[in-house]
């Protein structure tokens, strides 16, 4: 019996098994790119220009580094409700490239989300499997606290797609399946500073998130929410519940002078 279970587990987790689960919707896999053979993916990052905060984004030239192909970065910006704002391309001049996202670039003070795709300059027969996590930083006066990508949330199955079609071809890289997700933050959150929880929604459907059974929010597709938790509501153990399978936040911790950003 144990042997049968062992083999079933292998099939369940295999390339074919994932493909069948994804196609039928029966226990669909959490990450949908594992059984794809040609894709480029991205986190759904948070940009901030509120409260005099700037955002910096940094990425490595993955296509050049691994596939020896000249490439560029395409940024797709959304507002906090997931509404498309703009699209921007930048070329790689260095091994690592960066973009400062501030009020001048976005046009207003707020916060929202963005995808970044590392795309080939010329069309080739080659297939890509890019899961570049990238890095993002938040801070004031050009001083940034850096954090790596949180979760591969979006993907494009046609790496050679043209600029004017890319937005419509961005798909969730995570299952849309509704679950009872419960996540205990493995950090002792101090009341010496203010803590804001940042969540994004890379799915095609609205998601619900609740913190400590008291702060409840809905997030629209491609949108985000920054949830400031009052110091009196910070618990010794802080718990997130959600219908989204991977509702792991970024924490923004700050006092009057300094910011520390990291994963929850």
């Amino acid at each position: 019996m144990l042997q049968i279970r062992k083999y079933l587990k292998i099939i369940y987790r295999s390339h074919i098994g994932r493909k069948i689960r994804d196609y039928t919707g029966f226990r669909s896999p959490i990450f949908l790119f594992h059984h794809k053979n040609n894709f480029i993916s991205s986190d759904l990052f948070i940009w901030r220009t509120d409260q005099e905060i700037q955002t910096v984004f940094k990425a490595s030239n993955i296509l050049k580094k691994y596939y020896d192909i000249e490439s560029f970065l395409t940024f797709i910006f959304y507002d906090r409700n997931g509404k498309f704002l703009m699209q921007k391309n930048i070329q790689f001049k260095n091994l690592a490239e960066e973009l400062i996202i501030d009020k001048k670039l976005i046009g207003f003070k707020s916060y929202g989300t963005f995808n970044v795709f590392n795309r080939p300059i010329v069309k080739l027969k080659k297939k890509f499997n890019v899961t570049n996590r990238c890095y993002v930083g938040y801070g004031r006066n050009g001083e940034f606290s850096m954090v790596h990508g949180n979760i591969i949330g979006s993907m494009i199955n046609e790496p050679f797609i043209s600029d004017n079609r890319i937005v419509d071809h961005i798909k969730p890289a995570i299952t849309n399946r509704k679950v009872n997700f419960k996540y205990f933050i493995q950090k002792k959150i101090s009341k010496d500073y203010n803590t804001t929880f940042g969540f994004t929604n890379p799915l095609d459907r609205r998601i619900t998130i609740e913190i400590n059974n008291s702060y409840k929010i809905n997030i629209e597709p491609k949108g985000c929410n920054l949830l400031y938790i009052r110091k009196e509501d910070i618990k010794k153990q802080n718990i997130i519940t959600s219908d989204f399978v991977f509702a792991r936040p970024i924490l923004f911790c700050e006092n009057h002078q300094f910011i520390d950003c990291h994963h929850g």
Partner: protein, 259 residues
């Protein structure tokens, strides 16, 4: 099983806060926190000097514990480490998805702090491997002090020397060479190269480890974050082929430019 560690130097101290519970909520009722340090070519297991509450153990860094590693275990299991003279995969309490993590926070005398959710998986301790990390992804040339902590944990109680190189990929030049030791948290000061780092990588052919970059700005602000290993940037059946290609190319560049 995961290990945890400190990161401190002349201008930074660290605070390690290890949760007693898994991120799905299950707690470690029969388990305790232990640390290991190398003494007389053996792993010495000690009960660290921690502060605890119902949910966390907190350990401050000092000169003595800066290279210590921390792990959660039942008291009965640790004897096996003494007997085997090697680190062991003692339990699966920290084998979770998402990963079981501790908070590693660095702070300075100006009151600034920065942290990341850290862990060192047991399976990494069994390999020597090689390390490749791009320096421009987490450093800022406007910062006053820039550097990188390299943490290695190897299962055998040895402190062999390993060589790390800082390579300028634009000018095809080795900028510096550093001798570090296995089973330590070492700090490499990169401040002298800050204008060049966006085209640099760090490489060692003899050692795995976690590179954690630090930027300290003039007013004290800090950034503290690790780069991902190269195999996390791509997926598919060919990914280790591409990663080996990348590391072999790095090794070749360094060999060809070594004086």
């Amino acid at each position: 099983m995961n290990f945890f560690f400190h990161a401190c130097n002349d201008f930074l101290s660290s605070t390690l806060t290890i949760p007693k519970f898994q991120n799905q909520g299950k707690s470690s009722e029969d388990l305790n926190l232990f640390s290991a340090r190398i003494s007389n070519n053996a792993w010495q297991i000690i009960i660290p000097d921690y502060v605890e509450d119902d949910f966390f153990w907190t350990v401050e860094s000092d000169i003595r514990n800066k290279d210590d590693i921390y792990f959660i275990s039942s008291p009965d299991s640790i004897e096996n480490i003494h007997l085997n003279y090697s680190l062991l995969d003692l339990n699966d309490h920290t084998n979770t998805m998402p990963e079981y993590r501790a908070n590693l926070e660095v702070s300075n005398t100006k009151g600034a702090w920065s942290s990341y959710q850290s862990e060192y998986p047991f399976n990494m301790t069994k390999k020597l491997g090689s390390l490749y990390s791009e320096c421009g992804l987490l450093t800022d040339h406007k910062a006053e002090n820039i550097g990188v902590f390299i943490r290695n944990i190897y299962y055998l109680p040895i402190k062999d020397e390993v060589t790390f190189y800082l390579y300028d990929d634009l000018h095809n030049k080795i900028l510096s060479e550093f001798i570090l030791k296995l089973n330590t948290t070492s700090y490499i000061d990169l401040s002298d190269f800050k204008e060049l780092l966006s085209n640099c990588f760090i490489y060692s052919k003899d050692c795995l480890g976690i590179p954690i970059y630090v930027s300290q700005y003039k007013n004290g602000s800090l950034s503290f974050e690790h780069t991902h290993p190269p195999h996390e940037s791509i997926s598919g059946s060919m990914r280790f082929h591409y990663v080996n290609q990348l590391k072999n190319a790095a090794n070749k560049k360094i060999s060809e430019n070594y004086l």
